[in-house]
Amino acid sequence: MSFFDYFKTKKKTSASIAKERLQIIVAHERNTRDQPDYLPELQQELLEVIRRYVAIRDDQVQVQLDKNDSCSVLELNVTLPENEP
């Protein structure tokens, strides 16, 4: 580090921005990578079934698969609209 570097350390370097962006996108992609291929289709079909009874938006159904050593857990999260019975 040279003497004048002390005056220019305030701004983030482009390399550190690159690293942060990479850490976020790589973590996100690793999560989706481990999911089986049928998951998006399963989510779509579940959505259609629920829609026969309740009007919900696409983002109100979350399907997630968590893997443990011995078993996998399929987690289904449906947010129902408030004014429904």
């Binding site: 040279s2 003497f3 004048f4 570097d5 370097t13 482009s14 390399a15 550190s16 690159a18 690293k19 962006r21 990479l22 850490q23 996108i25 790589v26 992609e29 690793r30 990578r33």
Partner: protein, 269 residues
């Protein structure tokens, strides 16, 4: 039984073919009978880098389809003993690399060779998947740059789920990171991802760091793998990488800042 090493990256233009040429040459120089196989059907270039483009008569697809024997298609390198090149087909369809066909050829080669180095095409399509499927080890070639690192991570995921070792539940493919086109000065200025940065993200063992060097283009211009250019940093860095691949411990070199004059140290740069 040959050890099968795939040289892969996902992204194009990061130095897969340059690396395949130098690693296979280095292994052959150490006395191992080595073949380097071009999996880039339709866009072969290994022959150019290895300076045997005018000696190609038969190719990988001819062997798969029984139109030529392996011995007819293999090209013996004129500079290094024990080194052979199996070129890709320039005219056929990528799908000509059938699973069974590739397996048959690799099995036959395994009987007489010590190392098979598979030069993967860019992307994650058929040719790339075929080149990594049978691998025992993978050299993931990465530039210190966002798109290359991301694609390398993707390729690592594929190695861990779609390779034969993964499908069979065998010991996983042994992964190596090879950082290429590394510019230490730019890293020091905060303009380029450092070795540690890339390591933090990909977290696989480092096989080597090849400094960005004019020697690489010079070598490919002449069709000589850069490892043969023993006076250059890039050539020596590849030699180190081959030694590490064979289990030797070697310190990383060429990562110190060049001797700077007093003014440069004062004013940076």
């Amino acid at each position: 039984m040959a050890r099968i090493i795939v040289v892969t990256s996902g992204k194009g233009g990061v130095g897969k073919t340059t690396t395949s040429a130098s690693i296979s040459t280095g292994l052959a120089q150490k006395g191992y009978k080595t073949a380097v196989i071009d999996f880039d059907v339709g866009l072969r270039n290994l022959d150019l880098i290895m300076n045997c483009e005018r000696r190609v008569v038969y190719d990988f697809v001819n062997v798969i389809q029984g139109e030529a024997t392996l011995n007819q298609a293999l090209i013996r390198d004129k500079r290094v003993n024990n080194l052979f090149i199996l070129p890709a087909s320039q005219t056929r369809d990528k799908e000509a690399l059938t699973h069974e066909g590739v397996e048959k050829v690799l099995n036959e080669m395994s009987e007489t060779f010590d190392y098979l180095v598979c030069d993967s095409p860019a992307g994650i399509e058929h040719g790339a998947l075929m080149s990594l499927y049978f691998a025992d080890e993978a050299i993931v070639v990465t530039n210190p740059e966002v798109s290359s690192v991301r694609d390398s991570d993707r390729i690592l995921g594929i190695l861990q789920s779609k390779s034969r070792r993964a499908e069979r539940g065998d010991e996983p493919v042994k992964e190596h990171l090879l950082l290429t086109r590394y510019n230490h000065e730019r890293v020091e200025r905060g303009e380029m991802l450092s070795i540690e940065d890339v390591n933090d993200i990909l977290s696989i063992p480092l096989l080597g760091v090849i400094p960005e060097s004019q020697a690489v283009l010079n070598a490919s211009n002449q069709g000589a793998p850069v490892i043969l250019d023993e006076d250059t940093e890039a050539g020596q860095a590849y030699e180190d990488a081959v030694a590490r691949l064979l289990g030797e411990e070697r310190e990383l070199r060429f990562l110190d800042t060049q001797k700077k004059g007093f003014l440069k140290r004062m004013f940076g740069g």
